[in-house]
């Protein structure tokens, strides 16, 4: 009898995983509202002007490290998820894109991609998406969140993920229920802390019917969710900007998949192709420049007005509590090591994101009080 070797396997046993092209660095040059494009371009132009020197510095740093062929892409995020009353003044996307191109020219760089917040809630890869083109990204990321185990959690009860809140520790005990003899207050507990805690409780979503109330508790970091109708999700949840910001960062880092498929792949309008009149009909990511570096990147830098600090802190808490696909994480780490200039990537996604908060000249200008 001769020795033989035989193996049998079915490809569907290990689900397919789509790869995405990766740049070295993705720079978010700002976060604006659609109506900011209406005001003869000033807010957007000022934002880009303000970002320009930092963009140059970041570019230099990356090229010093990875050489002149380092890939850097830029993007601008439009917050069309929580429309305000002035949203009606917003110009149509085609006009906004033109204005953006001029403003970027004036600032001395190109904005490669235009992204929409609502496109982070439900992603689509093409304009005027049909039902089948949509990927419920916010639902997907929400399902990746692993809330911290309460002390004593032994698995008997389901995790309390259904409340729509996520904390970075254990909340203060609720003593309203103790009728006659209220126990003394005890503080929330943040594990693995330094001497003092920074306890944060993040609202991830509200349910559509009670989105009137806003955020009551004092510990809420997210006050951005507007009661006006925003992006609906399949689960009937109104997702908060905190959660969508986490989705946004994960998307930029190329870490999200829908059943193994890449999502929110940038779309480029052909020269004669009409751009939709509605922001909601745009793809999640629109490619604006002809031949940019990939939208997703090993590392991400966000240049933001300081008023967006809370949403970014909250998104960081979310990122600290998501469990990503091991295969996606290891594939990207291996690709970083296989680059012409190899480099190790921080294992946690949060370690791949840098922030720069810039002053908020537009919203908080000092007004001399009348005397």
């Amino acid at each position: 009898m001769s020795d033989v070797e035989f193996s049998y396997r079915e490809l569907s046993e290990t689900p397919h995983l789509e790869q995405v092209p990766l740049a070295h660095l993705s720079i978010q040059v700002g976060r604006v509202r659609p109506e900011d494009f209406a005001d003869p371009g000033r807010p957007v132009a000022r934002r880009l002007e303000q970002a320009a020197p930092w963009l140059e510095a970041a570019g230099k740093q990356v090229r010093d490290r990875f050489g002149h062929r380092a890939r850097i892409s830029t993007c601008l995020l439009v917050d069309d998820h929580s429309p305000s009353a002035s949203a009606l003044k917003a110009p149509e996307p085609a006009a906004a894109m033109e204005l953006l191109a001029r403003a970027a020219d004036a600032a001395g760089f190109g904005v490669d991609y235009l992204a929409r917040y609502a496109g982070c809630a439900v992603a689509c890869d093409r304009p005027r998406p049909g039902f089948r083109d949509r990927h419920p990204l916010a639902d997907i990321v929400a399902s990746l969140i692993v809330p911290e185990a309460a002390v004593g959690a032994n698995g008997s009860r389901p995790p309390t993920e259904h409340t729509g809140w996520l904390a970075n520790g254990q909340r203060s005990p609720d003593f309203r229920s103790a009728m006659d003899d209220p126990p003394a207050w005890s503080p929330p507990v943040v594990f693995g802390r330094e001497r003092h805690s920074v306890f944060v409780d993040v609202e991830l979503w509200s349910l559509d019917q009670d989105s009137e109330g806003g955020t009551a508790g004092g510990a809420a970091t997210d006050t951005h969710t507007h009661p006006l109708a925003g992006t609906p999700s399949g689960s009937g949840r109104q997702y908060s900007i905190s959660l969508l910001t986490a989705v946004w960062h994960l998307l930029r880092l190329g870490l999200l998949r829908d059943a193994g498929e890449a999502v929110a792949v940038p779309y480029r309008f052909a020269p004669d192709e009409p751009v939709p009149d509605l922001w909601s009909q745009l793809p999640s990511i629109t490619q604006l420049t002809p031949d940019p570096a990939p939208f997703c990147a090993y590392q991400a830098l966000s240049l933001l007005a300081s008023r967006h600090r809370d949403a970014e802190l909250a998104a960081g808490i979310v990122l600290d509590h998501v469990r990503l696909d091991d295969r996606v994480l290891s594939l990207i780490a291996e690709r970083a090591l296989a680059e012409p200039v190899p480099f190790p990537l921080p294992s946690a996604p949060i370690g791949r994101i840098s922030h720069l908060f810039l002053d908020d000249f537009l919203d908080d200008s000092y007004v001399r009080p009348d005397t």
Binding site: E10, P136, D326
Partner: protein, 333 residues
């Protein structure tokens, strides 16, 4: 969100770099609450427990569709054999498995590693290795394994409760509106509770002890081997659980009841169940000896001592026999 076997093996090998790890698990097996067996696309949809999660499936030798891992945080006591209790913090993984769109299993497991640290760490520390929990202090691995398998004490309580976690996976699937929630057969959920001591320096042959508890439908499996054995072991436990459930269901839920009513001439009520057993349960008997030489060795040893396949064959013959008897009688009438 990754393929189960991959991440589980990684959790155990990564965790047990130098020290011994203890893996605790529980597999519950029951009938999928649907009148007909589900086809492949429906089963894949059913096993997508969370949006966007990948689902793993193979068609041969029997259709086996596995959900992505669900994850659950714990910070609780561990019962130790012989010397009190300990505390573990981390996460437990669980997944659902359907076989031939007919049998449903919920499987939960956690890899325990000892750390010297006396304080709980930030949560991201535990999320770095999903499916791993750190034991505070340095209990003896055998005490952890034996404490978990101690049949004298019920699983629920303040200590680690894999029963509820594996049960919740099953409940989540059974509650799916895609199912019609009818039960072709009233069959007991069976449980296999297992513990493995995985020592990188374990040079001897792997040791497996399988015990049938006095409680109905409950088995304990204790394993001692190397971290690399885990991938084989958790599959062995799931396969054993399915076969044990099949055998037990065939005997208790089909044969015993039919035989009892045969004497009372009430066999007619069992005709559906006998047919169900022959058409839908019998084809599920498919020992996983093809998976690895080690799996085959253990399965052969199991067969040697218990004659599982022989008993199942005999049950099958008897079921067919009863059905035919009924057929004859009804024709005579």
């Amino acid at each position: 969100m990754s393929a189960p076997t991959h991440s589980r093996a990684a959790a155990a090998t990564g965790a047990g770099t130098a020290a011994t790890a203890v893996v605790l698990g529980e597999v519950r097996t029951c009938l999928l609450q649907n009148r007909d067996p589900l086809a492949t696309p429906a089963t894949v949809a059913l096993m997508r427990l969370t949006p966007g999660a990948p689902v793993s499936h193979v068609e041969r030798p029997v259709r086996r569709v596995v959900s992505a891992d669900q994850i659950c945080g714990i910070d609780c006591g561990l019962r130790l054999a012989r010397r009190g209790r300990s505390r573990a913090v981390g996460t437990v993984l669980s997944h659902a498995i359907t076989t031939s769109g007919r049998v449903l299993q919920g499987s939960a497991q956690v890899t325990l590693t000892a750390v010297g640290a006396a304080e709980r760490q930030a949560w991201r520390h535990y999320l770095r290795r999903p499916g791993t929990a750190e034991i505070m202090g340095w209990p003896h691995p055998a005490d952890v394994a034996d404490g978990f398998l101690d049949a004298a004490v019920p699983a629920r309580g303040l200590d680690l409760d894999l029963a509820s976690i594996s049960d919740r996976v099953i409940e989540a699937v059974q509650a799916d509106p895609m199912l019609d929630h009818s039960t072709p057969l009233r069959a007991r959920t069976s449980v296999v509770r297992w513990a493995a001591i995985l020592d990188p320096g374990h040079d001897d042959a792997a040791v497996m002890h399988l015990t049938k508890s006095v409680a109905p439908g409950l088995h304990f499996l204790r394993f001692q081997g190397r971290p690399a054995d885990l991938a084989m072991l958790d599959r062995f436990c799931e396969e054993f659980a399915r076969h044990e459930w099949l055998l037990n269901t065939m005997q208790e839920a089909v044969l015993d009841r039919a035989e009892r009513d045969l004497a009372r001439d009430l066999l007619r009520e069992h005709l559906d169940k006998l047919g169900f057993a022959l058409n839908q349960l019998v084809p599920l008997w498919m020992p996983p000896t093809h998976l690895s030489p080690q799996m085959k060795t253990f399965w052969t040893a199991l067969e040697d001592q218990t004659r599982y396949s022989r008993i199942f064959e005999r049950h099958t013959t008897r079921v067919r026999d009863l059905r035919d008897q009924f057929g004859l009688r009804s024709r005579r009438n």
